[in-house]
Symmetry: C2
Subunit: 138 residues, 2 copies
């Protein structure tokens, strides 16, 4: 809570209750959609509007606090930016799992960046999962 206020000050953003709610909810729920955020925040702050969620996420994205996770189902999901990781999306139930970079991927990415003269910002993997905890798909 106090952390959020400090973070927002650092980013030169005003610490409105709505903004803080968005940050709080982002740490609570993993990869929420806009609507997930909106519905959750409304429980504690019924006057919160969807447009405000959108505007706050846009602002936080610009400041690098939040990143988008795109699983190509028509809705964006959001994540507080922490350490670099990959998103593995279950092709069956659309659940998202985070996987930390391992040495292999670091090596691959470094080589790719050198060879192709790019700077990788995001790496998304869509996969079918043999045993997804959520959808129980075999």
């Amino acid at each position: 809570m106090q952390d959020f206020i400090i973070l927002l000050k650092e980013k030169e953003l005003k610490a409105t209750p709505q903004r803080i709610s968005v940050l709080k909810e982002l740490t609570k729920k993993k990869h929420p959609t806009m609507d997930d955020l909106y519905e959750a925040i409304k429980l504690e702050n019924p006057s919160m509007s969807l447009a405000t969620v959108y505007k706050n996420i846009a602002t936080l994205k610009e400041k690098g606090v939040v990143i988008e996770v795109n699983i190509a189902d028509g809705k964006m999901r959001y994540d507080i930016y922490s350490t670099p990781h990959i998103h593995i999306v279950c092709k069956n139930c659309q659940s998202i799992r985070d996987i930390d970079y391992n040495e292999n991927l670091f090596d691959y990415q470094n080589k790719l960046e050198l060879d192709e003269k790019i700077k990788v910002e995001r790496l998304d993997i869509v996969a079918s999962v043999e045993s997804c905890l959520l959808c129980q798909k075999k």
Copy 2:
């Protein structure tokens, strides 16, 4: 042209002029959006409707002929399925470059699939590009 008709017969789809146009345009332009396809096809076939492009892409996707490329800008792009490759999206101008799998990535993917018990279907990389041919970004 004749190839398309054979392909469609294989997939048990009727070879309508509209369908063939979609396939033809997909081989001409790389990663077109729906609107790219629609506008291009309309030049030769002015009665073509956007809905028909959508319906044909949906059908071709189901049959595995076409894959989606999602660069998270609100529009899907489409690609005739060929060999496995990665899409590298320029963060600046949204252009998409294909990169073939190399040994590094194969190794990485194999390890990831074993470790995480998944089957990778798609791998998208969003990157900032030092010298993008299209946007000239330095």
